[in-house]
Amino acid sequence: MIVARTGNEAMAEAMRQINPDVVAAYPITPATEVVQLFSKFVHDGKVTTEFVPAESEHSAISACVGASSAGARVMTSTASQGLALMHEILFIAAGLRLPIVICLVNRSLSSPINIHCDHSDSLASRDSGWIQIFSENTQEAYDSTIMAVKIAEKALLPAMVTTDGFIISHGMERVEMVDDDAVPKWLGTRQAKTSLLDVDNPITLGALDLQDYFFEHKRSEIDAMNHVLPIIEEVQNEFGEKFGRHYPIVDEYKMDDAVVAILAMGSTGGTGKVAVDKMREQGKKVGLVRCRIFRPFPKDAMLKAIAKVKVLGIMDRSDTMSTLGGHLYNECRSILYDSNTRPLMKNFIYGLGGRDISIEDIESVYTGLFDIEKSGKVDENIVYYGVRGE
């Protein structure tokens, strides 16, 4: 079925079709609609979900941890400060290996207070042990939400699927929806090995774990991340075969003969592809790489995509506050240490607090990259694109 939906509506529809056992949530702009619409589905009897309207995001994700420990399929949605308030519990969900799924709408973190998109909220949680999947558009947000449930349950790790606040969350787009019946059928029911509510087989969960075993448990969690990419690949292939939409680990666009390329995440991938098409019409050999899975970081697929171009512009909608640039830039510099070939690289921090990035902006980035290709050197490694006063 082809419908017109905003990103929030599409994620709520995906949640309706998934029909989780429990959703515990607290509203926050720009993710409010996801659970607001979902609560209506609960009210109208379209889902059988136990809906818990919590008093804060900390409580919401804590309720998710409890429900997931009981063996339930659990989802929630949040953004920005809400995810920051969940921060403490994110690590617990991952450590307890609970496959909770968050529909996350990317919004900048205070201060200054702002409601628009950048990636500082999700990327501040990058070390929490959650799988992180970024969406380019509404269709992908819808598809990834459904896939994330299967990925999380196979990996026994929690996952967050993100959209860009307002750009995707409130932008109306064409979405191909899967049939209502097909989603639960494809997902099956969650098969949890243990349940806190199983009184005949009592368990202890989250016990104190000191010098003698903490490290071993953490090592096991780290190892779980090593197995996630093959699981994502498998689930994406299954999804593609069943529903006809195929997703890669790293999205490469016109990269086969590209001389210069940009690497981006989220909706900028889509804007960038239009810029690529325009410049290709002028005969310029440009390409685009989009990082779809940020955690775990897809080292091999990313190296394959970026190591062969001459100049790479890395677009980060976030800064690490380390004086070393943005998140993608740092990951790519790190993986390229093991590569025999590496492009000249420049980091463009852009779009903080929702500052618009246009097709023309990205064309100008490409033009700058061609200048680097000609001169063979990068004068300034990290620039703040579109900020006044530079």
Partner: protein, 96 residues
């Protein structure tokens, strides 16, 4: 006392423990000092037994039998409470 501890690959996923596992959790390995009990000096006054916070003084048939090192955390309270004239318990460095 020394028990082989499991490697990370042998552990159940997700910090799940069976119920009642505190009985098998031998907290004696927290110890950095160890009480040594001298049967000949002991007057069986049971002050150590009364004060031990871990019930690690073994008493049988009205007599102190020794120290349960599986649970003794080496706090030294027993040695402190043992009357100065008796001094049947002294603390020594735990050998690892």
């Amino acid at each position: 006392m020394k028990k082989e501890k499991k490697g990370w690959k042998e552990l159940p996923i997700g910090l799940v423990l069976e119920g009642g596992s505190s009985q098998t959790f031998e907290t004696g390995d927290w110890r950095s000092e160890k009480p040594i009990w001298d049967e000949e000096k002991c007057t069986n006054c049971f002050l150590c037994w009364i004060y031990c916070p871990d019930s690690a003084i073994i008493v049988k048939d009205g007599k102190v039998q020794g120290i349960d090192y599986r649970y003794c955390k080496g706090c030294g309270i027993c040695a402190e409470e043992c009357p100065p004239k008796v001094q049947a318990i002294k603390m020594v460095r735990e050998e690892k």
